[in-house]
Symmetry: C2
């Protein structure tokens, strides 16, 4: 599986269950959400802008997509968690399994971010992103075409201490509702 | 990392946070527990008995160990979850990274079980176990020597449907209390 196939497999609506572990405090967080992943044309103005911002040639971009989510956490039942970001893979020359991933809004910090991805032999998509004051490591893999799992770690910026570890089970929603 | 090193790294006391996702029902379970992993001598009577029960030559066993756990779940706060089992790796000839794992008590069913393990290039210990009416898939990896993660899937016996997916963050307990 390369990044083009990985994005193709990801397109759709997913019902997500996410558990967060705050390691220092032994706290749990539970989040239920709906995630929509849609492909975008390479010529979309926001893609062109993000490539320019990140200093990469937009000719190198493949399979840009948008991810939107809406959900609720047991930490604050009155608050709706909602957001959206644009992601643009920039594979290395002649190797779709490794490269950079631009995102219009980071996971650990809400500014544009550039991560490094690779796809392992057992078809896990691994992403490392460094932010000003934190770092993130994500692993995403498909158990079946309709069930995928995701591990996300938020680390201190030196990459050693893990602040939170979270695990998502994502089931493809076959209804269009 | 081979299975001998993997067991060595696992010896000790771990403070575990586990989140279970019941996929059909979108239910969450939260479990906090203490896990003790101690190595056992190859000559311990329970090792000899388990090898005999499983029909394997005990000369092929390496690094047997015992795992005990005690914890509590938010599903039943009055109940203490407690148990213990013995595990015996039986590597393939000349390949410590792949083989069988005997356990005196299974994860999906409380009878002795024999799983197939392998260690991936990125040092994840992967274990598949088939039971009479279910199958289990576990992945365990060390983020640092003192922090490890574990994914456990309980599947229908045909291996397709995932009934529950759980994620554990396990921090080495440096106190001896």
């Amino acid at each position: 599986m390369d990044v083009v196939e990985f994005v193709e497999c990801s397109i759709g609506r997913w019902r997500s269950q996410r558990s967060g572990h705050s390691l220092a405090l032994s706290h749990f967080e539970e989040v239920r959400s709906t995630i929509d992943i849609v492909s975008l044309p390479k010529t979309a103005p926001e893609i062109i802008e993000l490539c320019k911002y990140s200093g990469v040639d937009m000719a190198d971009a493949v399979s840009p997509f948008q991810m939107s989510w809406q959900g609720e956490s047991d930490w604050d039942e009155n608050e709706i968690i909602k957001g959206s970001c644009i992601l643009v893979p920039i594979p290395n020359t002649n190797n779709l399994k490794k490269g950079k991933l631009l995102r219009s809004q980071g996971y650990a910090e809400t500014i544009p971010a550039m991560g490094e991805y690779y796809i392992t032999e057992d078809e896990t998509f691994v992403l490392h992103t460094e932010y000003d004051s934190a770092a993130a490591e994500e692993k995403i893999w498909f158990h079946t075409p309709n069930l995928r799992f995701r591990i996300s770690l938020i680390k201190t910026s030196d990459g050693n201490g893990v602040l939170t570890a979270s695990f998502s089970s994502e089931i493809r929603s076959l209804s269009t509702a």
